[in-house]
């Protein structure tokens, strides 16, 4: 038996859980070395991220963004494209959104303004992903290299645009002006008062709708079939009549649009203005989510919630435990990527033995 032939429950549930557990164990060890009690720390983390309703609300708020960046990386991965550039695409998506807000937030009612903002974000994200996609399809420039470069270009470009054009006169904060109230996504605490004063908003439902559409189109449509065929065997896809370069460009457009949509929750759901580095690594978290969730909609959702919980719980943990810095989250995130991505099949041989042993 090879890893390819393991039963589905083993590869999609047991292995990721074992990997996750290993990452958390190493994290616990580090917390112990920092001089804190790992068990107590984990309790604080879980309590403030999941059990406490306000904490859960924050977890799901972060997860709503991560679902979009996770989907962006996943859909590209299905076509065999490793889009490292979700970070930059989300950042530029934020610019598109902001442009639309500054132009229309005084004139349009909220139910028109919000879709317009989403279109702006998706469009700019897609355009930012188009260039690497085009270069890959027509010139063979490797998507990993170009998307990394485009992250840097996006960061510098945004620096320039925010400082030169977006900071209102007389302000010091490197951010655009605050948008009007019509630009705010309806928060969920209006319906669920238990959520308290938290930014969780309807983009959580938008994220779930996006997951469903993704799931249906990737695994049940002719287009998704061609997408996956391209990802697994380009020669066979060409044989099947797929227009490979068109497929690559289309996939990157969709991927970039999804990454751009990640900006909607962050900006229209919480800050209501565009600020420098507002993405805060959400695009990179998307890579981890796509790897860990195995590009499956349910997996993406669960991974997004997990990373949301880590941010929320990690933040509270650093407040309560002075020895544990905020960066611990980034460290745990790195461990999870290490175990779930690079060492994905660490436990596979042992698990195969176990399964075979039971059968024999």
């Amino acid at each position: 038996m090879t890893t390819n032939d393991m039963p589905r429950w083993a590869t999609s549930i047991v292995l990721p859980l074992l990997n996750l557990l290993s990452a958390l164990l190493v994290a616990a060890l580090v917390i112990y070395l920092l001089g804190e009690d790992p068990v107590e720390s984990m309790q604080i983390l879980i309590n403030s991220a999941i059990v406490n309703p306000e904490g859960l609300s924050y977890t799901l708020f972060y997860a709503s963004t991560f679902v979009f960046t996770g989907l962006a990386v996943s859909i590209a991965m299905q076509a065999g494209l490793f889009n490292i550039g979700a970070e930059g695409q989300m950042y530029i998506g934020g610019l598109g959104l902001t442009w639309a807000m500054i132009a229309f937030d005084a004139s349009l009612p909220w139910f028109v303004l919000i879709p317009v903002g989403m279109v702006g974000a998706a469009l700019f994200g897609a355009l930012w992903a188009f260039i690497p996609g085009y270069l890959q399809a027509k010139r063979g420039s490797h998507i990993v290299v170009t998307t990394i470069m485009f992250n840097f270009i996006a960061a510098q470009l945004m620096n320039f645009i925010i400082v030169k054009y977006l900071i209102p006169q007389g302000e010091q904060n490197t951010a655009s002006r605050v948008f009007s109230d019509a630009a705010a996504l309806p928060p969920l605490n209006a319906w669920f008062p238990a959520l308290g004063d938290t930014p969780l908003n309807i983009s959580f439902f938008l994220a779930i709708i996006a997951l469903v559409i993704y799931g249906v189109f990737v695994s049940r449509s002719s287009w998704g079939y061609k997408l996956r065929a391209t990802g697994m065997n380009k020669h066979a896809a060409h044989y099947a009549g797929v227009k490979i370069s068109a497929m690559i460009i289309a996939t990157m457009l969709i991927s970039g649009a999804l990454a751009g949509l990640g900006a909607v929750n962050s900006i229209m759901g919480s800050t209501h203005y565009l600020s420098l580095n507002f993405t805060a690594g959400a695009g990179f978290v998307g890579i981890a989510i796509a790897l860990m969730g195995r590009q499956h909609p349910v997996g993406i959702f669960l991974s997004a919630v997990l990373f949301g919980a880590l941010i929320q719980g990690g933040f509270d943990l650093s407040l309560e435990k002075p020895n544990i810095p905020v960066e611990t989250f980034i460290f745990i995130q790195g461990l999870i990527i290490l175990f779930c991505g690079a060492m994905e099949y660490l436990y596979a041989p042992a698990l195969i033995k176990l399964i075979k042993g039971k059968k024999a």
Binding site: N4, S221, S222, Y239
Partner: protein, 508 residues
């Protein structure tokens, strides 16, 4: 006299698969021994054990009467075992001399050793009439010459036991004959040869003794002189094999495909196809014979829309195929819509997606025919279609959800052929339909193709197996160096003449 090699009760299993079970036989010193069996019969596993790639689970190997532990291929080489693989292990951009020296450089200073080796190689070449220039670069050599380099390498490493894995698969009839000459010389020098092949004629032509394997076991060990091809074939398959499959009378209909003056040059301007022209009619099988790599693959790629020609044209049912475009992206689908089906030569590269299930692979190429509203698939319909296809073509195991990579080559090929037949094509392009497929399945595939022909489909077949060409073709085109070098009717079938045409010699 002690046998050169003796296997005693060798067993080897991979997981649940028993590749070798209690294999015992011996090979006399100075004999040419044939090892035959279908794919997956365990020949390669056994040879890999002898060559130190695998460790047997049980049993022992005796060389010249001595039990030997062969743990690595280095040990095998030291014990005088040499292996010529089906795919050559040569560095293309190095010279013959450098390839032979690779791994036996012997010391820090290369120059002195080089001269010495070169002298030795020239001696060996003269003694065995190998006809290889030690200073030639590998990629300038023909396939036959590259194979001689592999043999040269083994002799230089003083191999006494030479294993050849399907050595004639890539050779013309003439090249095969000269290979056999070399092997006979080898035998005269007292060396032992193990020849793995599935071509029974070669077994009859050259071997002294032969071992037949089936499903991991030895099912027969005979003197070649005492057996017949039919007997060997029956032993291999375990049941009688029908040699002459029934076919209807040759009654070609309207021209389906007319190719005129087709040209193909690669990006550096080297011609791959030149002046290709022929007509293919409904209800006939035209076979293209030739040594692989002489333009057949490129021709099939062009006719299936996977590649654009650089010149010339082809009419399908009287209308020109749309070759004048920027690139071939999406063109295979257009051709498929016209009624051209394609069983690609390289099944694993083009024909299937290994990590897709059998059912998903039955959709490949027809994904746009099978979609419904919003481009969504009707899985009930696809599953029913797949089930009937697996049944009709006897794909084993008939499990639509199995990853196709787990099926045997023969069953993968059945899925591909079934998929293409199901599309009810007017023209079927079939490349190497039985490569890597076992005898039982070959029979099934040939029967299918003949039934298709009798139903009025025009079939263009590319095959490097003359047996297959003889079994299926109504007419034969021979290709060499990107040109059609001759055409024969099936009644004129003559191995020598085809062999000469395959080698580029026009009929005199």
């Amino acid at each position: 006299m002690q046998p050169a090699v003796e296997f005693r009760g060798i067993s080897k299993h991979f997981g649940a698969v028993k590749a070798n079970t209690d294999v015992s036989f011996s090979i006399a010193k100075g004999a040419i021994h044939g090892l035959v069996g279908e794919n997956g019969a365990g020949k390669s596993t056994l040879m890999s054990i002898l060559y130190g790639y695998y460790k047997a689970d049980g049993g022992e190997i005796l060389l010249d009467g001595q039990p030997r532990q062969i743990r690595t291929s280095q040990e095998a080489i030291r014990l005088g075992i040499g292996m010529v693989h089906q795919h050559f292990m040569l560095v293309e951009n190095m010279t013959v001399l450098d390839n032979v020296m690779l791994g036996t450089e012997g010391g820090f200073r290369l120059a002195a050793h080089r001269q010495e080796t070169e002298k030795k190689l020239r001696e060996i070449c003269a003694r065995y009439r190998l006809d290889v220039d030690p200073l030639a670069t590998i990629h300038d050599l023909s396939v036959g010459a590259q194979q001689r380099v592999e043999i040269l390498k083994q002799i230089y490493r003083s191999a006494n036991i030479l294993i050849l894995d399907e050595p004639t698969a890539v050779l013309t009839a003439q090249e095969t004959e000269s290979l056999f000459e070399i092997l006979r010389l080898f035998k005269e020098q007292g060396k032992t040869i193990i020849l793995i092949t599935h071509k029974l004629q070669e077994i009859k032509d050259i071997t002294d003794t032969v071992t037949v394997m089936r499903a991991g076991r030895v099912v027969g060990a005979v003197q070649t002189a005492d057996t017949s091809k039919e007997e060997l074939a029956n032993m291999m398959v375990g049941r009688p094999i029908e040699n002459n499959l029934p076919r209807g009378a040759y009654n070609p209909g309207k021209p389906v495909l007319e190719v005129r003056d087709l040209q193909l040059k690669d990006s550096s301007g080297v011609p791959l196809l030149e002046d290709i022209g022929f007509t293919l009619r409904a209800g006939e099988i035209v076979a293209i014979a030739g040594v692989s790599g002489n333009g057949q693959s490129e021709l099939m790629e062009i006719l299936s829309g996977m590649r654009l020609p650089t010149g010339g044209e082809a009419d399908f049912e009287g209308k020109p195929l749309p070759f004048k475009r920027h690139d071939a992206d999406g063109l295979p689908l257009e051709f498929r819509h016209l009624g051209i089906a394609h069983v690609p030569e390289d099944r694993l590269r083009d024909g299937v997606v290994k990590n897709f299930s059998v059912m998903q692979n039955t959709v490949l190429g027809y994904q746009d025919h099978l979609k419904g509203a919003f481009g969504l698939f009707d899985f009930k319909h696809i599953a029913a279609r797949c089930e009937s296809l697996l049944k009709e073509f006897d794909v084993r195991p008939p499990n639509p959800d199995l990853r196709i990579g787990l099926l045997s080559g023969g069953n993968q090929q059945k899925v591909v052929i079934a998929r293409e037949v199901l599309a009810k094509p007017k023209l079927m392009l079939v490349g190497q339909p039985t490569r890597g497929v076992d005898i039982g399945t070959i029979e099934a595939i040939h029967t299918q193709l003949l039934a298709l022909r009798d139903a009025g489909v025009a079939i263009l077949l590319v095959s490097v197996e003359l047996e297959e060409v003889r079994a299926l073709a109504d007419r034969i085109l021979v290709m060499c160096g990107g040109r059609i070098t001759g055409e024969l009717k099936i009644e004129e079938f003559d191995t020598t003449r085809i062999g000469l045409l395959m080698g580029g010699m026009h009929k005199s």
